[in-house]
Symmetry: C2
Subunit: 334 residues, 2 copies
DNA sequence: TTGCCTATTGAAAACGTTTTACTTTTGTTG
DNA sequence: CAACAAAAGTAAAACGTTTTCAATAGGCAA
């Protein structure tokens, strides 16, 4: 039924080894042999079985990117960076989704343990730091976007604490004294870091830290909407709202607009991630931009280099972020 | 270096065959053997090499979903449906992106030819109908969301022509006489179908087909913005605009709003896909909803059933769509 | 005791490659 | 023309599993 290298060898009147050499562009094979083999491959419509090849070579030239879901277009650029970096070195990137389930995450990592891929990158780990640390010792595993406290693993991310600080400080610089924060109940390290940055900025500016001003929800638009509603119902309203993601921030702004609040004037809004919709929304959202493409590219480059090295790099690399000022903070820049 | 089944066998004092039987939960193996093997597996931290296993069984229990990119969150639900269906049958779904490059699409399909996956689903084919038809004869290949004229392959989609018709007819029903269409220059079958539906609705209503009212751009927000600008500059403006995607429609509405047009009153807007942002935008966008989850679920169920069948199903299945009316057509429904 | 059946086990083949180790052919040089 | 090196080829081992086939052991009836 299936055409194997043996069939090609027979058709080309050479040995199996010769076929293999031709296919792998090795030297030590005559022009006639090359031609005969190529003709046979063509005629038979042969394509080599990767399982056999990969087993023998014990490498697959494939890397698995593990994300939570493809819902957040935010990942798209990161993955593009990963693919570009991988592709130039002859690797393919496959994507799989955990759907926020740590068990499923472990199931996917099985592909790594069982050599179905050469390496893996976690973009939204649900497993705990210790477990991942342990795995990173044995396998070619890395993290991107999200770091984990005390986790010894190659990790490429941004300084989320500093980014939270910068965003908050910018709002303070615009004369705001009561700044709300909408974050998540589920504590990913990035949201913890961003929250810490927010708090440090308040401290540095001598502003009081009012726990009332912090709303804990989830990553959704609806949560942003709800969070803003709660904040606006306080005796003394906030005059600015920093959200740890753009989607949340858009939800928050929506509440404000629907309730007659002048966004960018009465209340300033600041998001995080610079997703494409943040500049499509009216008014355009000011936000923190991460170097998505670069993070993806970097993590793959390092991971592949780790795969060749005897002594793998398990450090955390923080790439620079930047602030993008738009209408929601009263700036008119595009 | 690596722990293989042999090491486990040695440690458990049984043969390799017995270990394999225990691992695969076969009968005909004594309790003692089971325990000894499990203990050894535990102690050595053994996990079976899938390459060996898959080669021997010549099946991987993996299916590849090939999309253009993860940028459009629209795919997310489809993939979720695919994964649910696959997972209940013991399959995993891997995702790979073509980045709109037919050559790269072929490269990814290589994983299918070379048995690295058992089947594949194309969600945004760039290859031509004939090529895909040919491949579908030899491999377990299916399509989802997008059909291809004259392509003999298992395909799960919606009736895009009818959907385009329905949306346009709705606008006509609201008394609109000059309806603009913003579509794409690159002719995917779905956009052709939607455009045809638009035209049929005009014909059926006895409205003239004015080529001026059709703008050909790409799938982006910017293209929608630009398209709307062109349409609004016509001597006689359209009183409604149908776009073949929500992102385009949001771009179009943005132009309108920024230029003082009363959206939902002066001009109605209709999108396509019901992406999450379509109800976050202000005003909320009326749109065509596709059964994303169901399409994904269905295509995988059929594909897996094809993998077991002698005579595979190569028909096109069209699932029902529906209209969602929101503020952009003057409806107040959520 | 003998014979037979069943439950468990193990040795070895098989899956499709690549690669090693060895043989044959070709070509060059003195 | 002998000697030898280089080039081109082959057979077989190896990768890590599963599965086939045969063998062993144990139980039980006669």
């Amino acid at each position: 039924m299936n055409i194997t290298i043996k069939d090609v060898a027979k058709a080309a009147n050479v040995s199996v080894a010769t076929v293999s050499r031709v296919l792998n562009k090795k030297t030590n094979v005559s022009d006639e042999a090359v031609q005969a083999v190529n003709r046979a491959v063509e005629e038979l419509g042969y394509s080599p079985n990767f399982l056999g090849r990969d087993l023998r070579k014990s490498e697959t030239k494939r890397i698995l990117a593990i994300i939570a879901s493809t819902e957040h277009s935010f990942y798209s650029e990161v993955l593009r960076g990963m693919q570009d970096a991988a592709y130039t070195q002859g690797y393919d990137v496959l994507i799989a989704t955990t759907r926020d389930d740590p068990e499923h995450e472990m199931h996917l990592l099985n592909m790594l343990f069982s050599k179905a891929v050469d390496g893996a990158v976690l973009l939204a780990p649900k497993l705990d730091s210790k477990t991942i640390s342990e795995l990173a010792k044995k396998y070619h595993l890395a993290m991107c976007l999200e770091r984990l406290e005390g986790c010894e693993i190659l990790c490429v991310t941004i300084d989320n604490e500093q980014a939270g600080y910068d965003a908050t400080k910018l709002l303070i610089g615009k004369g705001r004294k009561r700044i709300g924060l909408i974050t998540t109940k589920v504590r990913s390290q990035s949201s913890i870091d961003r929250e810490n940055g927010y708090k440090r900025a308040l401290r540095d500016a001598g502003l009081p830290l009012d726990e009332e001003l912090i709303y804990y929800g989830d990553y959704s638009y609806d949560s942003g909407f709800k969070g803003c509603e709660e904040l606006m119902r306080l005796k003394t309203r906030p005059d600015a709202v920093f959200s740890i993601s753009d989607t949340i921030s858009i939800g928050a702004m929506t509440y404000a607009i629907r309730n007659g609040i002048n966004v960018g004037k009465d209340v300033l809004f600041f998001g995080f991630d610079n997703i494409s919709y943040s500049h499509m929304f009216i008014p355009r959202l000011s936000t923190v931009e991460q170097p998505c493409y670069l993070q993806g590219k970097t993590v793959i480059e390092r991971l592949i280099s780790n795969m060749k090295a005897e002594d793998p790099d398990r450090s955390t690399i923080m790439l620079p972020h930047s602030l993008i000022l738009r209408e929601s903070t009263g700036d008119s820049t595009y």
